[in-house]
């Protein structure tokens, strides 16, 4: 099924794009990540201009998260207070990210910076998550029932910040500055890398803020929902690279995928989910590291002036 994308300026196989949407939608519902870290590189590989891919992926992530947020909020899995603080930081971050994006684009180094960021972020987060997941699973693997579970707690740095608020749903009494700064960092990444930032947000909420596990995924999606809306608008106004046809195709797949993902997430054990996400993140980081080191197929790139 050939579909012409008016902004990307080429025709693509519509079915392929929808399937890509389903895949990222499942990830989105399952792990609370937007799936942008998978969509954007795959779209670029398919021949869609990088800016259009990043902008349209952000639009898709909005749709995937709204159904995810709905599904999670139905079972009380969203800490709205925490989420709103993070959204505030995220919007500031998105604006900073837009300025950085333009600067790097002018220098011609946006691609390599994005790739290095991917490798560093995904590599370190992936290995951290992998270690945690394995140590959480070890007692059950060895059959030791009732093994001592490490007490969930936030990072000492977070505890040192002033003005504490109560976040009831997360079971926390911490300074709002911590989620605000976290949200801002994720906002910068959203704009730069065309990702929702869930792969960074989920582990940071678990291991840095020490949030209760059952609200992490829902709250992450809540933050992603709003930050990607701002990102879509920023792209529409500055790069004019949002391809609504491409976004609609991706959305069609991902809103369905997100529902499946949420269903699976409710049944599966969280330790296994984290192990699976860690493995996926590490594989992508390794693939990108390999991509940086080997000679690319195209030595030359053309950019309009």
């Amino acid at each position: 099924m050939d579909v012409y994308l008016p902004i990307a300026n080429l025709s693509v196989n519509g079915l392929f794009i929808v399937l890509l949407g389903v895949l990222t939608g499942i990830l989105s519902g399952l792990f609370g990540v937007g799936g942008g870290f998978l969509t954007t590189p795959l779209l670029i590989f398919y021949g869609i201009p990088p800016t259009v891919a990043a902008a349209s992926a952000a639009t898709q992530v909005t749709g995937a998260s709204v159904s995810g947020v709905l599904a999670h909020s139905r079972r009380g899995g969203v800490d709205y207070r925490m989420g709103t603080v993070m959204v505030g930081g995220g919007i500031v971050g998105a604006l900073i990210g837009a300025a950085l994006f333009r600067l790097l684009q002018a220098l011609g180094q946006i691609d390599v910076v994005i790739n290095i960021l991917y490798v560093l972020m995904l590599g370190s987060i992936g290995s951290l998550m992998m270690r945690e997941a394995v140590s959480a699973l070890r007692p059950s693997l060895l059959g030791k029932a009732g093994a001592p579970v490490r007490k969930r707690r936030h990072h000492p740095l977070v505890a040192s910040l002033p003005y504490r608020w109560r976040f009831y749903a997360s079971g926390l009494y911490i300074s709002p500055l911590a989620p605000l700064i976290l949200g801002m960092l994720v906002g910068i990444l959203t704009m730069l890398m065309g990702v929702g930032g869930g792969f960074l947000l989920v582990p940071a909420m678990l291991y840095i803020l020490g949030m209760s596990g059952n609200v992490v995924v829902g709250t992450s999606l809540y933050q992603i929902l709003f930050v990607t809306m701002v990102t879509t608008m920023t792209h529409a106004l500055t790069t004019k690279a949002v391809d609504i046809v491409l976004a609609a195709l991706l959305l069609l797949g991902s809103v369905m995928g997100a529902q499946f993902g949420t269903q699976i997430a409710l049944k599966a054990r969280p330790e296994y989910l984290r192990l699976a996400l860690a493995a996926l993140v590490i594989v992508i980081a390794l693939r990108m590291l390999y991509g940086l080191g080997v000679q690319p197929d195209e030595i030359y790139t053309v950019a309009p002036l």
Binding site: V66, M233, A236, K240, I244, Q259
Partner: protein
């Protein structure tokens, strides 16, 4: 075909009237307007026509057809390995890179004309006038230009077909040029050259407009002119689709 028959009739009469020594070229293009709409997967452009020798001459003409898309200023960047990582190292600016460039000829260009003539009339991807700007040495510029050509050849945007023109009876010619789906919209030109004895004897130009029409055209206009509303539309679309899916699955 009726149009070409009429043209032929005129052609046969013309040399008798004017007594000129140049061949007469009557080019036609299958479409003077290409509409890019939903489902557009590229277009087949048929360039055909007739070339008539003036009386008393017996040249065998070669026909070369050059189709060019709108030009744009571009920066070409070159990747190099720095500290083990492949990143953009050098760059070069060109003020007039055609977005599309296709050459079809009845024989390989080098058999028809010498390099100088080919360069003057841009008969080949090696001879595109890119108007380099900035100050880097010609050798380096040539390397960047080559990089651009190779890249666009892979995308199907630059083409060279040394057997792309078929001449029948030494009078009628036809060439087929394929425009891929990723062509830029704008005004295209199709130049036809009649060449004999290494000299371009006559040429003619036809224009082709490539336009986005229907919904596709409106999407582009909306994205450019009403960016805020367009962005809002994209957000509302994504929210609505997510919400509808959420509702459907919640019931099921």
């Amino acid at each position: 075909m009726r149009r070409i028959a009429a043209a032929l009739l005129l052609l046969l009469a013309a040399p008798l009237l004017s007594g000129q020594r140049e061949p007469i070229l009557v080019p036609e293009v299958s479409q003077s307007r290409i509409e890019v709409r939903q489902g557009f997967t590229g277009a087949n452009l048929l360039l055909y026509g007739a070339v008539i020798a003036p009386p008393g001459t017996s040249d065998d003409y070669d026909i070369v057809v050059v189709v060019k898309g709108p030009t744009e200023p571009v920066r070409i960047r070159e990747k190099d390995r720095i500290a083990g990582i492949w990143m953009n190292a050098g760059g070069s600016d060109f003020r007039s890179a055609p977005s599309f460039f296709a050459v079809a000829s009845s024989r390989p260009i080098e058999e028809i004309v010498d390099e100088r003539t080919a360069a003057i009339f841009e008969l080949g991807t090696d001879f595109i006038q890119l108007s380099p700007s900035g100050q880097i040495d010609p050798e380096e510029q040539a390397r960047f230009a080559r990089g651009l050509v190779v890249l666009r050849e892979k995308q199907g945007l630059y083409q060279e077909n040394p057997e792309g023109v078929r001449i029948s009876e030494g009078v009628l010619y036809q060439a087929r040029i394929v425009l891929p789906s990723n062509v830029t919209t704008g005004n295209y030109t199709a130049e036809t050259f009649a060449i004999a004895r290494g000299r371009v004897l006559t040429s003619a130009t036809a224009r082709i407009a490539v336009e986005k029409v229907g919904l596709e055209g409106q999407v582009v206009i909306a994205a450019q002119r009403w960016s805020f509303i367009y962005g809002l539309g994209a957000i509302v679309l994504s929210l609505a689709m997510g919400w509808i899916a959420g509702r459907l699955f919640a019931r099921g």
